[in-house]
Amino acid sequence: MTLDALAHRLGAHPEAIATAAAVALAAYLLQKSSAVRALPALGRAAVWTVAWFALVAAAAPVVAPPPAFRDPYQIPTTSFAIEPQPPDAAHPLGTTENQFDLYYGIVWGARTAFKVTLSIVVVSLALGLVLGGVAGYYGGTLDEVVMRLTDVFLAFPGLVLAVVIVAVLGKGIDKIILAIGAVNWPIYARLVRGEVLSLRGREFVTASRALGGSDIRIMLRHVVPNAVFPFLVYGSLDMGNIVIVSAALSFLGLGTEIGYADWGQLIALSRKWILGAPGHAFMYWYTVVFPAVAITGFVLGWNILGDAIRDRADPRLRTRGSLP
């Protein structure tokens, strides 16, 4: 790509320039921040991996410009042929089934991944904070009801409940967010409840109450700020898991609509082709390898980052905690 063409593309997407600049600034601050410098080498590498995915997601309109007047999340196709085509000049990573361009799908898939994981963490955290906080703070019958509700939700392996919800609601990115959010909140609620229970009896809460602080004020000013930090750590550990579950839904054909830029769907599209042709087992390797590298790298980055943050938050733990 010549400089002229690059400048032209950049000019066409002011919002992308703004995002890219924000990401670059964030990366610079990350580099300077003492928190990142104090991380072990592996943790720093993880920060850069996640930052790189964020950059790709932010710069998607520049590095993979969408065709005009189309939903950018819909992967463009160039022909109606079915068979995947190996990488060439027009398709740097090749095409998968139905000529969906792998490069375009992976770049915009990074956006989808961030959109899905961040929305789900926010939804679960909000539900968990409200329900778990109320249960832990007031105790009694309310606590019992919320905890039995979490029991019911936790009676399903996460993926199974998500499959049921998506089967009933139908395909689409918003349905995935709803389904996985519904599966995830009970764990957050239980963690928040435990945290609130231990904070409830602390001196500063009693002091605030003695000064006439209302329940709402105590919750918002004293309990929530102290209870929320462990969940940011848990949330970062959860990011990798969420992207796996959402990709699994797409893999089963229950996630996004066909052609939506989503890593799980790209892997699902490769399923028919991975066995290759007789005598050429690895003929269509690119259909599975590139999406697999993208999703594994994303999950690996978040997992190592979460571990590193947790180790820093609590040096006693040099290992990963139990499954929630």
């Binding site: 039995r148 019911v152 009676a155 993926l159 049921v164 997992n303």
Partner: protein, 341 residues
């Protein structure tokens, strides 16, 4: 201890009831015609949907319908699964043994790998095995199960032709259906041994290798980490110093004193592993085209086979709740500190 058991046992029906309510509430998002399938037993009845909607009050408030449905469920009438072309109860009886076989072998292998590797990593802390096990677990968390399964299929079936997908080859499948082969348990490897047909056993084992390895790799990672930290924890206890002080061989100290006490957290974890297996089979059975409840559930969800989805969800939830109950009781039995609480 009694209070602990009674509390656990009382929770069980409560959660089971909650599960049926949750599933039924979710199904309300569907039109009555889809939900009518929950109440039929054979394909002929599917032609008279309007009559079924009237008979079971599917246009009435939810609690009325729930009453009808719960009565049917308690009587074992779970509806007719169109994707499996048989009643749901029969489909569960057909597919569940295959999943049981798969998860049974995977669970055994996970426990073996997890405890051996976890102990070895803790005993030689920061040694080669420790670092290797750390990489093993990080990859286990990070490599999605469907990616791992597809890569295995690509290499060991596409390229090497060693381990084929599905449950049996065509010849063995036909033989297993024939009157000469008596199905004692529904577990193919066990039935093959009981029938003395070794070639069927070999065939079944070849088909089990890839799905079992897929499930093991994806779930053993957590067990390795937990066993490692639990053994490290016990190794610093006073009674370990006492055992060493009285001159016991290091291998005895590890096996009898350290590992045995470290197994307590491992028991709690094994229930989450079993539950993880139930979620994992949905993907694994789909990849390897293995005819178990996971593949059935996934197909049913795709084809909006409502009774099958509901039956599948209730079966999995039932097993999950039972596994949790068993783990809680076992935990109370193994750890006296829980018993005395």
């Amino acid at each position: 201890m009694t209070a602990y058991i009674v509390r656990r046992l009382c929770l069980f029906p409560l959660v089971a009831f909650g599960v049926t309510v949750l599933i039924f509430t979710l199904l309300q998002a569907l039109p009555p015609a889809s939900r009518a399938m929950l109440f039929i037993q054979n394909p002929e009845q599917a032609t008279a949907i309007a009559a079924i909607i009237r008979k079971y009050d599917l246009d009435k408030p939810m609690y009325v319908q729930y009453g009808h449905w719960l009565r049917d469920v308690v009587q074992g009438n779970l509806g007719y699964s169109q994707s499996a072309r048989m009643p749901v109860a029969q489909a569960i009886a057909t597919f569940f043994p295959a999943t049981l076989e798969l998860t049974g072998y995977a669970f055994g292998l996970i426990v073996l790998v997890g405890i051996t590797l976890g102990t070895a990593a803790a005993v030689r802390r920061d040694g080669v095995i420790d670092h290797a096990s750390r990489i093993f677990s990080i990859c286990g968390y990070s490599l999605p199960v469907f990616v791992w399964g597809l890569l295995l299929l690509l290499v060991f079936y596409g390229r090497l032709q060693w381990f084929p997908p599905e449950r049996l080859s065509l010849a063995a499948g036909l033989y297993a259906q024939s009157p000469a082969f008596h199905a004692y348990t529904g577990l193919m490897t066990v039935d093959a041994v009981l029938n003395g047909s070794w070639w069927v056993l070999w065939d079944a084992v070849r088909h089990l290798v890839l799905p079992v390895v897929t499930l093991t790799y994806f779930l053993a990672a957590t067990l390795v980490r937990i066993t490692r930290s639990a053994v490290l924890d016990t190794l610093s206890q006073d009674y370990i110093r006492t055992a060493r002080g009285k001159g016991l061989a290091e291998s005895v100290v590890i096996a009898r004193h350290a590992r045995r006490n470290a197994l307590i957290p491992v028991i709690t974890l094994s229930s989450s592993i079993l539950i993880g297996l139930l979620g994992g089979v949905v993907i694994t059975e789909t990849i390897f085209n293995y005819p178990g409840i996971g593949r059935w559930g996934a197909t049913a969800a795709l084809e909006l086979d409502v009774p099958a989805v509901a039956g599948f969800a209730m079966l999995v939830a039932g097993v999950t709740v039972l596994v949790n109950l068993a783990a809680d009781l076992l935990y109370g039995y193994v750890d006296p500190r829980v018993r005395l609480r």
